[in-house]
């Protein structure tokens, strides 16, 4: 895969001395949806802001389609659309004016048919002559997306696009995003909702405390870290684990009624068969069992814990 954004050893220390990014390197592939996942304050917005030109990097470099974001900023920025995290719009312009304004700012000649198309796709067409100030939060979010798309960017950044957004808009937005991806647009979204990353992304990057902890294909991430958990509900409570089961990392609940076994679904042998016969050998009987896939949420919590 060819990378469309290449981030190398990027660090950012703000004027107050706070280091928001620590030596981040990341290759973003062409036409993928990459989700940057991380808790509040992790540095997601800072990373996006540097790529888009809103924040000066302290060190490191970023290239967009081979164009350095500082020495060749025009070529780099022409390719990028940004939907910021905050609902920031002008107050007095109409929807149509503000979307056309952005297109002009990006150096593109007017193209009403295209603006009409994005406004329709985002269910904004009947609001095109409304003054921005009079719009609801959800509508403003739509306007920000329309503005970001107004100059036909090849790369779209969505910073926390669904924070405080209703179900309908979320659906519209994902439709638009899937349509864009199908037309070859690369999409980078940040979120702290794991389900969102799980649902939408091809790859997931996890950021915590300014560090890029890990980047992986979503499926691979799930596989690599996606352990399953086997829970055995015992017929008779145990006081301690009987001998002969030492090969397995088992955990006994405090009331002695439940044994849990963590295993990887990735390996050839999960060890479940062996465990069951070993249990039989030790005379431990169980009345029921269940298995559970670990969610990204669990994976994330583990990763973040490991890091700190």
């Amino acid at each position: 895969m060819q990378s469309v954004i290449s981030i190398k050893n990027l660090s950012k220390t703000y004027a107050d001395g706070f280091q928001a990014l620590k030596d981040v390197s990341l290759e973003i592939e062409d036409s993928e949806i990459l989700a940057l996942l991380g808790p509040n304050g992790a540095g997601k917005t800072t990373l996006i802001s540097i790529v888009c030109g809103l924040v000066n990097p302290s060190s490191g470099s970023v290239e967009v389609s081979g164009h350095d974001i500082i020495s060749d900023y025009r070529a780099a920025r022409e390719l990028i659309g940004l939907v910021p995290q905050e609902l920031t719009t002008d107050a007095f312009q109409t929807v149509w004016q503000t979307v056309s304004f952005t297109r002009g700012l990006f150096g593109k000649p007017a193209k009403p048919s295209y603006i009409e198309k994005i406004l329709r796709d985002l269910s904004l067409w009947d609001k095109k002559d409304n003054i921005l100030m009079t719009l609801s939060g959800g509508m403003k979010r739509r306007v920000l997306i329309a503005k970001a798309l107004s100059h036909e960017p090849r790369i779209l950044f969505l910073d926390e696009p669904t924070a405080g957004v209703d179900v309908e808009l979320r659906k519209d937005m994902w439709d638009v995003v899937r349509g864009l991806r199908a037309s070859g647009v690369t999409i980078i979204l940040t979120t702290h909702y794991i389900e969102e990353a799980e649902q939408m992304a091809d790859r997931i990057g996890i950021i915590n405390k300014g560090e890029l902890v890990l980047v992986a294909q979503k499926a691979e991430l799930m596989r690599k870290l996606g352990q399953k958990q086997l829970a055995l509900h015992l017929r008779e409570p145990l006081e301690r684990l009987p001998g002969g089961l030492d090969d397995y990392e088992l955990e006994l609940s405090s009331d002695g009624r439940e044994l849990t076994y963590l295993y990887s679904t990735q390996g050839k042998r999960t060890g479940v068969r062996g465990l069951l016969s070993a249990l039989q050998g030790a005379g431990v009987e169980f009345k029921d069992l269940d298995t559970k896939q670990r969610s990204l949420e669990d994976i994330f919590v583990t990763l973040v814990k490991e890091q700190s």
């Binding site: 910021p84 004016q97 700012l105 503005k147």
Partner: protein
């Protein structure tokens, strides 16, 4: 060169004027007319002529300058302050547009408004007194240079200001007093010698004097000095704007 981008900013700013037409055009015209009525008739009945020019006609260049200075500063500072305030500045910073082009859009629009305003005031004044313009080309040169210079100055104020108070304090407490004390309504030769010397430290004196010369061929200070002072102030503002963008001062963390 991203001309579309410059045009977008310029149009945005001019549309803003249209929305606030009352504030940006009607009110300066009304206040100018009031100055005429009050100063023209109250003082004009005591001072018949200055340097051989009727008092009413004498104050016209000063009145225009007064509006140019305050309106250029106010317009340009608000133009860049507002996106900073609402956060929409993210668009400017993320667009493929150079700093020079951003300034061209904002300062160009603010200066255009001032120039139009100056001409409207001139036309309004013409209803009250007979005006002759001895050096029309120089008159326009002074008009344009002053508008551009003070729009740049306003741009700087807009970037610097952290709140609406700071935004208003400079036009109100610096520009207006300097314009009043800069000989808008009198010739500095009428002042006691000591105050004449003090006044020479007021940069606005040179603007008004040069501008008045382009109308009536008489000046408090030499025309060359006037032009040099404008050029100096213009370069100073350009230098500061260049520094602002080079360092990202108050725009880019």
């Amino acid at each position: 060169m991203n001309l579309q981008g410059v045009k977008a900013i310029y149009r945005f700013e001019m549309e803003r004027t249209w929305r606030t037409i009352f504030q940006s055009v009607v009110s300066p015209v009304v206040s100018t007319s009031l100055y005429f009525v009050v100063f023209g008739s109250a003082i004009g009945s005591r001072i018949k002529e200055i340097d051989g020019i009727s008092y009413g006609a004498f104050i016209v260049p000063g009145l225009i300058m007064l509006s140019l200075l305050t309106q250029s500063t106010a317009n340009a500072s608000f133009g860049i302050y507002f996106p900073k305030f609402t956060g929409t500045i993210y668009e400017l910073l993320s667009a493929p547009i150079s700093y020079f082009e951003i300034v061209l859009g904002y300062v160009g629009a603010a200066a255009s408004k001032s120039i139009i305003l100056g001409l409207i005031i001139l036309a309004t004044a013409n209803l009250f007194v007979t005006i002759e313009i001895a050096h029309p080309i120089w008159m326009l040169t002074f008009l344009v240079l002053t508008s551009v210079t003070f729009s740049l100055f306003g741009f700087i104020i807009g970037v610097w200001a952290d709140g609406f108070e700071q935004l208003q304090i400079v036009p109100l407490l610096v520009v207006t007093p300097l314009a009043f004390l800069g000989g808008s309504f009198y010739s500095i030769n009428m002042l006691p010698e000591f105050w004449q010397k003090v006044t020479l430290f007021n940069p606005v004196v040179y603007l008004i004097s040069g501008f008045r010369w382009s109308f009536y061929g008489v000046a408090d200070v030499g025309v060359g000095v006037s032009l040099a002072m404008i050029a100096l102030f213009l370069s100073l503002c350009l230098g500061i704007v260049w520094w602002i963008f080079r360092t990202g001062y108050k725009l880019k963390p």
